[in-house]
């Protein structure tokens, strides 16, 4: 997890070989590990106050509740690392989920109703990428426009009517692995969103760390000029980032649409902010170049755990926003401090 401390892959790996202790501290102080500690501390403290909090059912719900947000946050991580933003993701999830449900109730095979939203997501991502990379329109403007188009379009087309009577077998997010025991350990049934979240995050982390294109995303976001000089095509990378973001949003939309028996064909309020919050709290620098999908996933789980904890320890929901706000500020502060440190270290 040194990726947070080493945004641009090219610089010399000076202290990697040097001071073992300093390296250890750098790993331990990385955002992902800190979040993991916070998550464990939260589970342990609230769990000791009320054991039902960490009982199997609620434990699984904590991981399951924000799984679709974590999946969308993988794409958001890439977008923010490339020094862009996508604020249309919430609306896009609403639209793609509605497309999925509409296909399903009109008799399309189930796999088509799962696949089409992902393809449409990729297409929308390509359109955003084209406008950002080739027409040089700032991504916040492009996606702000798209947000309004999608939000308005969805209400006009569906007149806010919900999709019901979805076919059996459509509910991907309600599927579970069978429970089994191994070596005397009983493994409970795991809902599919949790598995999808872990697998996609793992693939994304490995791809971004070890593939050339993946590392180029960090390079473009960290220092676009240097990336260009080293022969990376910024345009191509941005296109890739937005198309991949569209794919992840598409998958998130399918999970969102198949979680309940009814699809609320309106745009979920504030969903894009939850996704951006997961990415930022997960250690993705708003200044680009730094962060991992793993951090975003832990942050999404942490947000879900906080929300559940507030119910369990009888705290007014007023506090959820305050706590999330504190988390965001602390995270950004930590990012600034890390940057200052890195700048000081490389400045001499």
């Amino acid at each position: 997890m040194t990726a947070t401390a080493k945004p641009v892959p090219t610089p010399a790996r000076r202290d990697d070989t040097g001071n073992f202790v300093s390296r250890l501290i750098s790993i331990v102080s990385s955002q992902e590990i800190i979040l993991l500690f916070v998550l464990i501390a939260l589970l342990a403290s609230v769990g000791s106050a009320n054991p039902r909090y960490v009982a199997e059912r609620n434990f699984i719900n904590i991981f399951n509740g924000n799984a679709y947000i974590a999946v969308a946050a993988i794409g958001m991580t890439m977008v923010i690392i490339s020094r862009n933003i996508d604020i249309s993701v919430g609306s896009l999830i609403g639209v793609l989920g509605t497309i999925s449900g509409t296909l399903a109730i009109n008799g399309s095979p189930i796999w088509v109703s799962w696949l089409v939203p992902i393809l449409v997501g990729a297409l929308v991502g390509a359109a955003i990428g084209f406008m950002v990379a080739y027409l040089r329109i700032p991504s916040i403007v492009v996606t702000l426009g798209l947000l309004s188009i999608l939000k308005g379009g969805l209400i006009t087309v569906t007149s806010g009517e919900w999709i019901t009577d979805l076919p059996e077998g459509f509910f991907l997010a309600q599927m579970k692995t069978p429970a089994f025991s191994i070596l005397g350990l009983s493994i409970p049934a795991i809902p599919s969103p949790i598995i999808i979240m872990f697998v996609l995050t793992l693939i994304a982390v490995l791809w971004m760390r070890y593939s050339q294109t993946g590392r180029a995303i960090y390079a473009v976001g960290g220092n676009a000029e240097a990336a260009r000089l080293s022969g990376i095509s910024e345009k191509r990378i941005l296109m890739t980032v937005f198309i991949l973001n569209g794919v992840f949003v598409g998958i998130a939309a399918v999970l969102w649409a198949t979680q309940l028996s009814i699809i609320q064909s309106t745009v979920p309020p504030g969903l894009e902010l939850q996704i951006i919050t997961a990415a930022v709290v997960g250690g993705v620098s708003i200044l680009g170049g730094v962060g991992t999908a793993f951090g975003a996933m832990i942050a999404a789980i942490l947000l879900s755990a906080i929300n559940s904890a507030l119910v369990f320890i009888d705290i007014s929901p007023y506090w959820f926003r305050a706590v999330v706000g504190i988390l965001i500020l602390v995270t950004v502060l930590a990012d600034m401090l890390r940057r200052r440190r890195t700048a000081a270290a490389s400045g001499d």
Partner: protein
Amino acid sequence: MRKTLLVGLLLTTVLVLGFALAMPAAAQDRWDGADDLPVSPLECPAMDGEMAATDEPAAMEAPEYDGGQAVNAPDLAGQDIVLVDVPKLVGIGYFAATTLGEQQAAEELGNVTVTTDAPTEANIDDQIAVIDNYITQGVNGILFAANDPVAIAPVLRRALEAGIHVVGYDANSEPDAREWFVNQAEFNGIAKAMVDSMVAEIGDAGSFAIVTSTFTTPNQARWIAEMQAYQEKCYPGMTWLETVEAQEDNQLSFNQATTLLNKYGPDVDGLFAMTSVATPAAAEAVTQAGLCSVDSASAAAPSAEEAVAVVGLATPNAMKPYVNDSCVKSVVLWNPIDLGYAAVYVMRAVVDGEFGPGDTTVEAGRLGTLTVVNGSEVLLGPPFIYTAENINDFDF
């Protein structure tokens, strides 16, 4: 530098957590989702468990009539009249239902013709244009459901000045811009229906939690306040556990309802849900947790101890799957067919000179005698309970 950073972050973490864990001590005055306005709980049901036949509001000083009057309206008592109905919009199931009720009333009365005409989007400017058009054409009466209570008032006042009778339903205007408004439900009526429906399922000693939208939504806060007052008055043995906020977000509503079920386990007997978003989500949470009292999906139905009842305010379409599965037994709302029906009867009574300022009741066909409330409003009556027997007759 690194150590400072690390220590700083851990310190903040501890602070945030400590802060969070210390809160329950200060949370004596827990947020219950109710507002602080005065409440007026209705009478409790009769002791034999039957619903009281009449829902007479507690005797209070009735406010003065504050509606407007049609100027020099022609005397058409008993004669054929032509009405136009201008709902917020056409093309949605809800106003198709009010239109159906209006047609039923017109057919019963025999001397009323009513046409529904409205924009296809809920737009106040278009709605004003439609009404303006009918004032010019000349009709005997206008029924409306306002897209905006203030903006619609001037055009309605013009109608009154032109001698056209004006009666509103569903969404009010400023009182002096119409003669009467048919009010679909009062807060205390909804509250009584919700609590009585819950008691029918979990008994008068059960414990319940509430899933609402946000703490700032005035209607939900009002309903909850009235529900508390009515429950304390009529079923003091019930236990309120807590109220959670779930925005207008079905995923969050589902997660919150699930968390409530996990937190209280067998100690929660029922969930109230306060919106069309929260109610299906709460029903979904109960279904997916396998806690429906009648669980058709699984062979192993939960014991009566574990089962959780859901009672909510919602539109029938959102609730059909759960009501048809018998997981939810009652959904509380008003009946839009009856609402349109009552509006036409009120209009007929106004034209016939049988219903005017100072009157306290009006006859409305199959609905019987309706009561005047709040000066110039006609209360539709107790809310409608959608059940497995009737929910499939509605499409909105």
